[in-house]
Subunit: 477 residues, 4 copies
């Protein structure tokens, strides 16, 4: 059996949705996470609170795609006017249902449901400290820390101050939805590393990681939750905004544009498709090549390839075709089928490629093994010359802020020069977009975004004890 991993990509770890003041809150939350399924396929969940009449809290979560978790689900089981939802990335390692969000706890201010996108850098010392104080952790994710900090914060101040006091103790990346018995809070860390935006659907306030969730449920994008902001929604959509962390230097994640976000979404105020096309156009300007066709690696390279094609005038051709029915595992014959892992997802169209010189456009190269197989497949299909163009700089450093990346040693660009990589993946030429080019495409300037995976410059440092925290505390099997 062959396990099909995504084609050598970084992986987004989470997507969020929040709904306030809607009779069908849970159903809308479900659709909101369905639209953001690309942000996590390990698990999904929705928590709903009923505020009118007797307060109730209900929660449904499970492993798998949103569709699987909510197959035949009866939303009458998630009653109430508010709901938050979450999708989570599927790691290669062990499943732990306790880690699937939202989290719920009965704490000293009533019920609390939390959904979190991001990773903290001081989760481990905080966790250790909390455990020493007698806190009990049942999951291994950072998110539980928020619950404990709040549960243990002094009671003699208003709830919003307790939340602020708790958040002041955490460092790292967090876009956060916190649903209480009487309010919904949407929070972005002071650096604004992970996205979170606010929308409106009639009398309903909506939050989501990406605007594509708003499109599906018919909501209108209003604005981003700003870095360091806490938005508090109460009653009939009374909205208050807090900036309790003073003035931080914001640094949203630039990789959302490169690969993670859906092209039809807007994140950090820019349409992803438009940025991605400009990435391709900048790439064409920086690294032109004489070729017959521009061939995208579907689907992630398609938009940049459109940009490259338009900027270069080289026609776009779909020389690689994707099988859209690919699942997680395959039973491979023992007699080796060459490059099976890639073939099961992509097929090279020999009638397009035979005898042609092509520019293959992809968004990134992580380990390089998939690119190598891909190039081999293109050559077997008759491509005369294969030039690889990557619509981002070399990925040299792991992410600590909510993205699943290999460790530095496994990143090919951390160990090898572009020439060496070109040789390894067997292309006639290879070029990456420059940092400047990337920032031009994003229409910003260096330093305005977190680009640590390209630069190694971590705006809020690396986590304490990073290796150690990869170990699960306990395993549910």
């Amino acid at each position: 059996m062959v396990i099909m991993e995504e084609l050598d990509k970084f992986r987004e770890e989470c997507g969020l949705i929040g709904i306030w003041n809607n009779k069908e809150a849970a159903n809308l939350a479900y659709l909101g996470i369905f639209a953001q399924q690309h942000r996590g396929q390990e698990g999904a969940g929705v928590a709903a609170f009923r505020h009118n009449g007797e307060t109730t809290h209900s929660l449904h979560k499970g492993f798998g795609l949103v569709q699987e978790v909510f197959s035949d689900f009866d939303f009458a089981k998630l009653p109430g006017e508010s709901a938050i939802g979450h999708v989570r990335y599927t790691t290669a390692g062990g499943h732990r249902l306790a880690n699937v969000q939202p989290f719920f706890a009965d704490i000293n201010c009533g019920g609390l449901a939390v959904a979190h996108n991001g990773n903290l850098v001081n989760a481990d010392p905080l966790r250790q400290e909390l455990i020493e104080e007698g806190a009990i952790f049942s999951a291994t994710s950072d998110t539980e820390v928020f619950l404990h900090l709040l549960a243990r914060s002094p009671l003699n101040v208003p709830l919003i101050e307790r939340v602020i006091n708790s958040l002041k103790r955490v460092q790292g990346a967090y876009s956060l939805l916190m649903l209480f018995d009487d309010r919904l809070l949407a929070v972005r860390d002071p650096n604004g590393l992970r996205p979170l935006c606010m929308g409106q659907l009639d009398d309903t306030v909506v939050f989501a990681s990406e605007t594509c969730a708003f499109d599906l449920i018919g909501a209108r994008y209003v604005r981003d939750v700003e870095p360091g902001e806490i938005i508090e929604v109460t009653g009939k959509n009374s909205i208050k905004s807090y900036f309790p962390f003073g003035h931080a230097k914001e640094s949203p994640c630039i990789f959302e544009y490169i690969y993670f976000a859906r092209p039809d979404s807007s994140v950090f105020g820019r349409n992803v498709y438009m940025v991605r096309k400009r990435l391709g156009a900048e790439l064409a300007k920086e690294h032109p090549v004489k070729a017959d066709y521009v061939v995208p690696v579907p689907d992630s390279g398609l938009t940049a390839a459109v940009g490259y094609s338009q900027a270069s005038g080289i026609p776009l051709e779909m020389g690689l075709i994707r099988n859209h029915y690919v699942g997680r595992t395959f039973i491979e014959p023992k007699q080796s089928i060459r490059d099976f892992g890639v073939k099961i997802k992509l097929n090279a169209n020999a009638d397009v490629l035979a005898g042609k010189s092509i520019v293959v456009v992809d968004d990134s190269i992580v380990r390089g093994t998939t690119s190598r197989k891909l190039v081999k497949m293109l050559r077997d299909a008759g491509a005369r010359e294969v030039h690889m163009r990557i619509s981002s700089p070399p990925t040299t450093d792991p992410c600590y802020y909510g993205i699943d990346t290999p460790i530095k040693d496994e990143l090919i660009a951390a160990r090898q020069s572009t020439d060496e990589i070109a040789k390894f993946i067997m292309v006639d030429s290879l070029a990456y977009l420059s940092m400047d080019g990337m920032y031009r495409a994003v229409q910003s300037t260096q330093g305005k975004f977190c680009d640590a995976c390209f630069s190694g410059k971590y705006p809020i440092g690396a986590p304490v004890d990073y290796e150690e925290r990869q170990k699960p505390l306990f395993k549910v099997v």
Copy 2:
């Protein structure tokens, strides 16, 4: 659809198994809870700790029978030399996976897995107090209280003292297994309400609620954990015993003999089959009746019926036959089939019964509705006279110590005299075993056991705020 409830019985709520120092600890724990499946069919779980080499903690649990939860399970996923297991009763109400045991937490002394049989009477105030102090509860069962108390207990004393200090705060019924990184504790509350016994299999120390678990895995019964005792097993089975609660008046649950325990088990030092047969014999002496046959209500009434038959000289006949393939739900035709709920489980054998006078022996009457249907079925099958004999006194009061019973109002014997009940269930005569008779059969004296369900005398009182705690804090759907 008709939901098949057990035939109007009290229900045991849990069964425990603990294994220390065995390479196949988890596998043995699985067999140990399989043997005790009658003590709970809602959910099952096993937690295993590896102590040799790098410490690991793993846990597998789920809804359903042991066989379902561990279907095709690979025990390599539960490595280690120690394990505890738990089965839990299926309540009519909502399932909550968080409630299925064992519980695991990472606390300030390392990993901790807990399995609990019983109910606390001060769980609610303790829980409220802990929540106010900032504890987070994720399940609705009492058991979580133990984890929090221990996690929050002062650290400046040895672990065993911390456990003792924690336990001193709880009141109620608890047989408890606590698995730590370096020891396994087996605890019985000072009253010894619920059973727990210790066994040995070569170099392995074993704990179980009932000895039938020892029989299946080939272990030898050593002795009961005594009321108020903490047994601590460390290293290569170094065993220490503590009695930290001073001298309490013990009061084990007499109903274990009446109905709960498997007849081939020993609990509280007596073989259940032998006690149950004596219950039948005492019943025959106290309430003789001239009849053709003694007919047991299978399977619960069988052993007492054997005793009644032997003591009375009236031959035993299987006038009621049980269908052994009964599941949880049935699709009933709309046109009423009379007494469907009983018929699906039991059938009266007309060839045995026609024209005969019979003594029907059952262990208890809870609501009376099933007995009424049963008697009707026996009469329809031609029984000339039906005399009902119950091998325990009238059940007049609910249990607060770990048994699932209806509220007092639903207990027919709480509202009606024996004569009235006889009329309701339409028998020619009805008699219950007396309290004295019951104690004779148990070979003990009144006051030595908890008989609150018959007497209303609760050795440790009723829980604070009993009604309130029946409400779930939140619902996982």
Copy 3:
């Protein structure tokens, strides 16, 4: 993993139910096969025909217990006023859904559903002949032969004659329900080898293998379908009877009394419990022994043990307790647990057995391996003397008429004397009931029943090419 086979028993292969003229025909058929679940656990199915308004045919079948196959089933999907149902035995070998009954075919007289209990002795030559004539077989069971014979029978005669002409070509054991668009036929082969009886529920005609099905649905037993009889039900229960096979010597299967049928059923006109008790009583008379207790092997030996106990005056004690939650597979620890396969089902009660001399009563010994383990378990539990008494003669020959038996070589009584078997199973004494004793218990005389498994006298011979037909034609995996 250990696969739990039933404790070394012959296995009944099928149970039938037929319902005519009831608005809830399919629902009643489902209950009818549920009541007969002991006659087959491999697969189950119900076919329903609607005769009023537009004729419809529908079918639902699947692997597993009736409860599993019909879990959450909506009986609106099986509309109509008539239905037949079937349960089938679970063989150790490959599952073939095509073999699960009822069978349905669209043939030249309309729709036809067939359910069959029994085995033909000329199925292979018939099948070969039919295949040569161009028939297509999609299952491997005998039952398909009936469909082909009828489909190919000359059309120029009334349907009932076509059925008769078809049946005249088959030889063997068959109790048969055939549901047509305008009638329901119930058939027993001329020897009447397998049971089939007729009942009535208000205006509804019912057929079942055993009367316990009638009891559950509230139907009244009317009479057996007689050997060689075809009962035809049409319209509002117009009933016609045909005896087209002349006068055959009937020979119903005596083993139905020994083990197969439920004790609360009547088959061949006798109540099974009463016969089984007499088997025990005859056994006591023929083979008395001085002992402390009679101990039944539950559940199959219970009734005979009651008979033995009453006839001998030796008290009955439940020295073996059955675990009622046993499923199909177990994960056994590698370190051998002795006699695991037996222990998982039965446990010896040492408190009953220690130091006692016991008579163990069982219905039969097939291979002897289970008996050997059982005896060892009893001795380990302290039994001083173990005397085994079997309530039937030695089983020396396989069945060809619808019962799943090992081949002759695997039957211990075919190879060894009673003394040798006693030695092998390690009992102090062993005795079987005599043929005469068995017939006395059945209140009949030798020759009136098929007793081939005890005598080797096959009333209709062995099948042509028996070994060959054990091979599946094709395998669905």
Copy 4:
């Protein structure tokens, strides 16, 4: 709950794979149908025959995607050197497992497995005739007819002649794989309506509906099975070719190029991507329009849009984005979300579309309802002008030859003029490719293909009694 139908498209009904002479035949067949999953998602199956040593036949099939049917499958259960596989389209109506292919039967020449793509026009009279002759049908599909015809064909001629004699009786569309104990036959009907091609992988002969199956398993395309040809493979790939039907006018299905086949496949000797791009180019020439962008309807319109863009010089932009995680059903909030059914699959990117004039390229319009919703979505996203261009002529007539199409009345182009359709779907302009244009793109001439869905000219007529045969003979529920 909303059931997601494919976006108003015709649906291919089947895909075939055949493997001869390979030790991993079944595993390769599985991969071959996986690659052709787009040709049918209702059910899948593989039959394998072992020819070396003892002949065995095995079959595994089930409902769902290939991945679901073969999840965790152990291919040791499908032993042998030859195999055929099949995928089947999911109809809206009832599932019938009996209809999932391959079919297997034990007939008078040994085992036979059949997989079929196409529909017969004389299936009903043939079926009726066969039933009258005594044949038993257990499925409702045409395919069973082949089995019966062969089973009943006179035996006194060689097998290949029996096959030919049988095939001479059927009329309609059939690409057929027939696996015997000693040979594999690949057949295309005289008109060659459905595709079937032959490939080679070392010593293995392979057949598939589309060449993309060859690419995945590493086989080389050799040639198409020709219309009216029977290819017989025996032994170590001895290949014989028969043309028993005389000289027929071939008419392969032109719609394979429009929509069905994967773009990386070759069918009928042409690469689908190249044809589809030319369809777009011809469309641009015939129906130019002044616009800012060409916007494909993903994924089906993408290739034609590339062609349109290149031919017109108007830049291609991905103004519609597809969600790749779409399943079969959704739970829709009651409060209407506008155009929910389309939105769940596609989202319009407002940042691309706002204020722009666009040419939307799609392959066909069936009912028009989806197009209408799509256009509305584009306008809501700000598109100033929407011009729809369809890369095929208006679909005015249903298909009877193996494609699932609505009845004529439901085809919008059968009832309305292009202007009326334009108004209905609310576009600024609408144009279809002409018949001439289509044939130019295919590089052929009118009459050389079946274009009945555009022209109403059926090369082999409509089926007898078409409406009647839509009714299932019986229902398996």
